[in-house]
């Protein structure tokens, strides 16, 4: 019984961390394009293994409303390595979805990577996987813009 409760709590916490991290990346350019919406939930269920109900509960104001981005970074830091990497990959998937990256998006990726204590190599692996998954959701995405790196570093 207590093990089940603990598992439930872990799942809920993972869902909260995922949705906070994903939201931050999705809105970092100041907008919420629809392209990023359903893919966040699909990723949560398919890759993070969260149930539909857990995803719904995690998004309720009582659950997610009091979590700050700093709480999220601390939570991700405390996660097992594999889960933290999955969150990083999913967050990068969201940033790849619309084909460009804004400075605040790069900053959020940077902070998450630091919270996960990722090496450059780990981060590259996450980016490559994220790109593949983003293309699954969005096969007809517009071509990417080569100026993104300069914008991001500005």
């Amino acid at each position: 019984m207590s093990e089940t409760t603990a598992t439930m709590n872990e799942q809920e916490q993972l869902a909260q961390l995922w949705f906070v991290a994903a939201r931050a990346m999705a809105v970092a350019d100041g907008t919420v394009p629809a392209v990023k919406e359903a893919s966040a939930g699909l990723y949560a269920q398919a890759i993070l293994g969260l149930s539909e109900e857990t995803c719904r509960v995690a998004k309720s104001p009582e659950s997610i409303g009091n979590l700050t981005l700093v709480d999220c970074l601390a939570g991700v830091h405390a996660l097992p390595r594999e889960q933290a990497e999955k969150i990083m990959t999913g967050v990068m998937m969201i940033s790849f979805a619309d084909g460009h990256m804004e400075p605040l998006e790069v900053r959020w990726a940077s902070m998450l990577a630091s919270a996960c204590e990722m090496t450059a190599e780990d981060f590259q692996r996450c980016c490559a996987s994220a790109r593949v998954i983003a293309s699954m959701f969005n096969p007809s995405a517009p071509p990417t813009d080569d100026t993104t790196s300069q914008e991001a570093e500005a």
Binding site: V27, A34, A40, A46, R56, M101, C127, A128, I133, T148
Partner: protein, 283 residues
């Protein structure tokens, strides 16, 4: 609809005659042949989606209906409410095409959805012009409705409410934000916090992630990425794993839709047996 009041879709004649005609045909079938009604509505949604794509994103024209709807949604061309209605018609239409029996209230709901979507569609193809539609008037049923058919109707309505709720729950599970959240306020709150963190990080001289690498990955063709000497193996593995996982979720969604069709079939079967029983007993 062959009544004095005319068709609910008459207003569309001046915008898209073919789609309007399909809507009128669907109305004619709603009581006598609900499966054909759904078939017509599905065709109607497909024609609307293809016309929208031709106007707004011709490069998507070769995709199938589900991919077209998803793309229109992804690019912000199809609002959530209209998308929900179009997907419901697509799903129920597909079930009808594959032989699932359809209660009249199911077809009536989709007809109502189609009417709502039609108004939005006409406004879209008229580049946002105001379109006068009038209230949806349910096509009148046969005069022979009795107590039994009324009970059947009520049970089917209750089942449809339940299916709508479960479809809504599925959708809520997928969205990034809950429906009841004040989106602009939430976005502002998160962006403010991000900006604060950015200032702190800059002041601390914290380096950014390798933004140049991110841009390179973004610009790479998928084939290049999968065959990359160092990233290729991991990436191919991630692709295989992700495909497997997404397929599992997709199958779960399909299973639910099959279950809804089965629940409708069971309801109709139950009422058919009831009716036969009454007939045999001479009630």
């Amino acid at each position: 609809m062959s009544t004095e009041q005319g068709s609910n879709f008459e207003f569309m004649n001046r915008y898209d005659n073919r789609v309007s005609h399909l809507g009128s045909q669907a109305e004619q079938y709603v009581h006598t042949d609900p499966e054909s009604c759904l078939f017509k509505l599905r065709l109607m949604v497909e024609m609307m989606a293809r016309r929208l794509v031709e106007l707004q994103a011709p490069r998507l024209a070769d995709l199938d209906l589900i991919a077209i709807l998803r793309s229109l949604e992804q690019y912000g061309m199809l609002p959530k409410k209209q998308a929900d209605g179009m997907h419901a018609i697509r799903r129920d239409g597909n079930a009808a095409v594959h032989g699932s029996e359809t209660p009249v209230p199911t077809a009536m709901r989709r007809l109502r959805d189609a009417h709502r979507i039609s108004a939005w569609y006409c406004s879209m193809i008229q580049r946002g012009a105001k379109v006068r539609t009038g209230q949806f008037v349910p096509p009148p049923g046969p005069a022979s409705a009795n107590e039994h058919s009324q009970a059947m109707h009520e049970a089917a309505e209750a089942l449809e409410d339940h299916i709508d709720d479960r479809r809504q729950a599925t959708r809520e599970g997928l969205l990034l934000f809950a429906e009841q959240e004040e989106l602009p306020i939430e976005v502002q709150r998160i962006v403010s916090e991000l900006e604060g963190l950015d200032r702190v990080a800059q002041a601390a001289g914290e380096p950014l992630v390798d933004a140049e690498f991110v841009a390179v990955v973004m610009a790479m063709e998928m084939e290049q990425l999968l065959e990359h000497p160092t990233l290729g193996l991991d990436t191919r593995e991630a692709k295989r794993e992700a495909e497997k996982q997404f397929q599992r979720i997709k199958e779960g969604f399909e299973l639910r839709e099959a279950m809804y069709a089965e629940e409708r079939r069971a309801l109709m079967l139950y009422h058919q047996r009831e009716r036969q029983g009454r007939h045999t007993r001479g009630d």
